[in-house]
């Protein structure tokens, strides 16, 4: 299970400082926020805008454009299931349906108890051993019902 620090401005400013000297620092800064805090706090946007001398709207636009930059903390576990064609061809749709049913959760949502966020991903590059999944950054290939149930048990703990 990933461990994140609570949002704090000093730490955020330090992270901005780590990247501000590079060309095009905005994405590296946002990635470092995700790695550190697990999400991008609303308070981060004016901070970054000020440091990079761009408008808050520009920062907000970038944060909301990319799927990776979540604006709220995820569940304790993040389970991503691939929904792209190669996984569809290997029975991925049934795996997705089973996961939604077993977790009582539609794709793109976090369980009420905060245990897990279920998300679609469009291709993990494991298309020859599909369907595939990613759980807390760990990749899993050839996901069948048995493997899925083990993943669900893992996120439910």
């Amino acid at each position: 299970m990933p461990e994140f620090e609570a949002w704090n401005i000093e730490r955020a400013n330090a992270l901005i400082g780590d990247h501000i000297g590079s060309e095009g620092p905005l994405l590296p800064i946002l990635h470092s926020f995700i790695e550190t805090f697990g999400y991008i706090d609303t308070a981060a946007e004016p901070l970054i805008a000020e440091a990079l001398n761009i408008s808050r709207a520009e920062v907000h636009g970038v944060v909301t454009f990319y799927h990776d930059f979540r604006r709220e903390p995820a569940g304790r576990h993040v389970l991503k299931l691939c929904r792209a064609e190669a996984c569809q061809a290997a029975g991925g749709d049934a795996i997705v349906a089973r996961a939604e049913q077993r977790l009582g959760l539609a794709m793109g949502n976090t369980a009420a108890d905060g245990s897990v966020t279920l998300e679609p991903v469009y291709c993990l590059g494991l298309c020859s051993v599909s369907p595939s999944a990613m759980i807390d950054g760990r990749i899993v290939a050839r996901v069948d019902e048995k493997k899925l149930d083990a993943l669900i048990a893992e996120v439910s703990r």
């Binding site: 095009g24 946002l30 930059f69 064609e85 290997a90 298309c127 020859s128």
Partner: protein, 524 residues
């Protein structure tokens, strides 16, 4: 006695099949047995149905075992310690396996063989020979790449040498010191493709070398490798390779002791498919939303930060060292028509023998799917194959005689794209696939141009009506009209090529766009 050398692939496919746990178990078991083993985390050979494919070095060569599961480790280790002995999972010498025997590996010559972390091993296997030739005659690089016939492997198939020439000749504004960039597009988002990932994880120095040669050729001193965030292993492998190349003096102010400076930086994407489009990717590196730019100006004239930029796919750049090592004529000798050299083809989806198959252009789709891929793993008949990712056309069996060649696929309203083939059996609903193509475009559209942004959403709605058998004939006309608008009115390939899967599904599988009997009964 020297340690027993065991290869356990560190490629993401092997890792996703349990290779990390297996490597740990081998280490623990060897300690318990008091035998000295050296575990090398190599790339993948590309025989993915055998992953994790372990190998042991013996006097007869390397002997492979796969697919190894955790419960097999003790038995396999026994066989390995016996000098590559018999075991249920023994597949013999990998190079002699028919799947590899039938290939022509130029770009993937080292992948799965070398230790991807070792620059010394890279050099022992022809590594940096291309750079040496490039440094011996820098002014000839572009001519050599042009003569090789190498075309962009990202999908568009634009001649690499001509692109480089444009950047080399580009004058910067105000005549200031010419900052130019080399950008590697490693945003391999197409479903059914994984060749870029495999090269980056299995032979990362070849990409570093290719980009360095590109930098010397066009006068660029800085390069970026933009890798999608869904590829954490590739990002780690490239970062390690860049650091190692820098330490060894192959990157930095004096490349291999020459007067040329060149350095590289890895950048991670953030989950936007459209950033695989070259101008969107440049915007993303600049720290902006990945909005597609209108062309002209071409990136070759005004690319990254407005400077002249070579932007090439991983495979294009990774092929350059071979061209510079073996010569343009050697490379050009492979292939057919205007598609010269080899293409790393990726066999994916519902296929018995999936993986990476590099071969000269000209092999037919049928050979790839039936002979090499072995048909479906579900054992059901192959009904459709999608070639070239989510923006590629669906082909039925009737088109299996199409040779793998840029022009041959275009002539049949398809594209080879990045060389991915996704196989579907007869349970596939092609109307559903057409709807998915529109849905995916709607999710991933950058929103800049109307045909893509609105057209894809209207496309999903129209497909829903067709699938509900609502004014079917009229809605099919709307769908074709929408596809026409998207194809000719979109700024980039996302909106412009989404009509390929939609229209090919409709053209080749019209029966799926009728009213399925089951649904009619349910509605009554």
């Amino acid at each position: 006695m020297s340690a027993l050398r065991i290869y356990v692939p560190g490629d993401a496919v092997a890792v996703a099949c349990g290779a990390d746990e297996i490597a740990a178990l081998i280490k623990a078991s060897a300690q318990r047995r008091k035998v000295d083993v050296e575990i090398v985390r190599n790339g993948s050979r590309g025989m993915h149905w055998l992953e994790p494919l372990l190998e042991v070095v013996t006097p007869q060569g390397r002997i492979a075992y796969g697919p190894v599961e955790l419960g097999d480790v003790e038995g396999v280790l026994d066989a390995m310690l016996a000098g590559g002995g018999a075991h249920r999972l023994n597949v013999g010498i990998p190079e002699e396996h028919p799947f590899l025997q039938r290939q022509t590996r130029l770009t993937f010559a080292r992948c799965g063989i070398v230790d991807p972390r070792s620059i010394d091993e890279y050099k022992l296997h022809h590594g940096y020979k291309g750079l040496a030739n490039a440094l011996a005659n820098p002014s000839s690089i572009i001519q050599q790449v042009t003569d090789s016939g190498l075309r962009g492997r990202g999908g568009a198939g634009f001649p690499t040498g001509i692109k480089w020439k444009t950047v080399a000749d580009a004058k910067s504004d105000k005549g200031l010191a010419d900052q130019k960039y080399i950008v590697c597009n490693a945003d391999e988002g197409d479903s059914g493709t994984f060749a870029d990932r495999m090269i980056m994880e299995g032979d990362p120095f070849v990409l570093v070398e290719g980009m360095t040669i590109a930098g010397i050729a066009v006068g660029a001193t800085k390069g970026y490798i933009y890798i999608r965030s869904e590829y954490p292993h590739a990002i780690a492998a490239m970062n390690a390779a860049v650091a190692a190349a820098r330490r060894a003096g192959y990157l930095g102010p004096s490349v291999a002791g020459s007067q040329f400076a060149f350095d590289l930086e890895v950048r991670a994407g953030a989950g936007a498919y459209v950033c695989g489009e070259e101008t969107s990717l440049l915007e993303s590196i600049e720290g902006k939303r990945g909005l597609v730019r209108a062309k002209p100006p071409l990136p070759a004239h005004q690319g990254l930060f407005g400077k002249p930029t070579v932007i090439n796919n991983v495979l294009s750049l990774a092929t350059v060292p071979t061209v510079m090592d073996k010569g343009a004529a050697f490379y050009k000798n492979f292939g057919m028509g205007r598609s010269r050299g080899t293409m790393p083809i990726q066999l994916a989806g519902n296929l018995k023998y999936g993986g990476l198959f590099e071969t000269a252009f000209g092999i037919t789709l049928g050979e790839l799917v039936d002979d090499i891929g072995g048909g479906t793993f579900t054992g059901r008949p192959v009904r459709a194959v999608q070639v070239g990712g989510p923006l590629g056309a669906y082909f039925p069996r009737a088109l299996f005689d199409t040779p793998f060649d840029y022009e041959a696929f275009a002539a049949r309203d398809g594209l080879i794209g990045h060389g991915g083939i996704v196989v579907f059996d007869d349970t596939v609903d092609m109307a559903k696939q057409a709807r998915f193509a529109m849905e995916f475009c709607a999710i991933e559209s950058c929103g800049k141009c109307t045909p893509c942004r609105i057209g894809s959403t209207r496309g999903v709605e129209t497909m829903d009506r067709i699938m509900r058998d609502e004014n079917r004939a009229a809605n099919l006309a709307v769908l074709q009209d929408l596809c026409n608008t998207m194809k000719f009115g979109s700024l980039c390939a996302l909106g412009g090529f989404t009509p390929y899967p939609v229209m090919s599904a409709l053209t080749h599988f019209p029966e799926d766009f009728g009213a399925p009997p089951a649904r009619l009964e349910a509605a009554e």
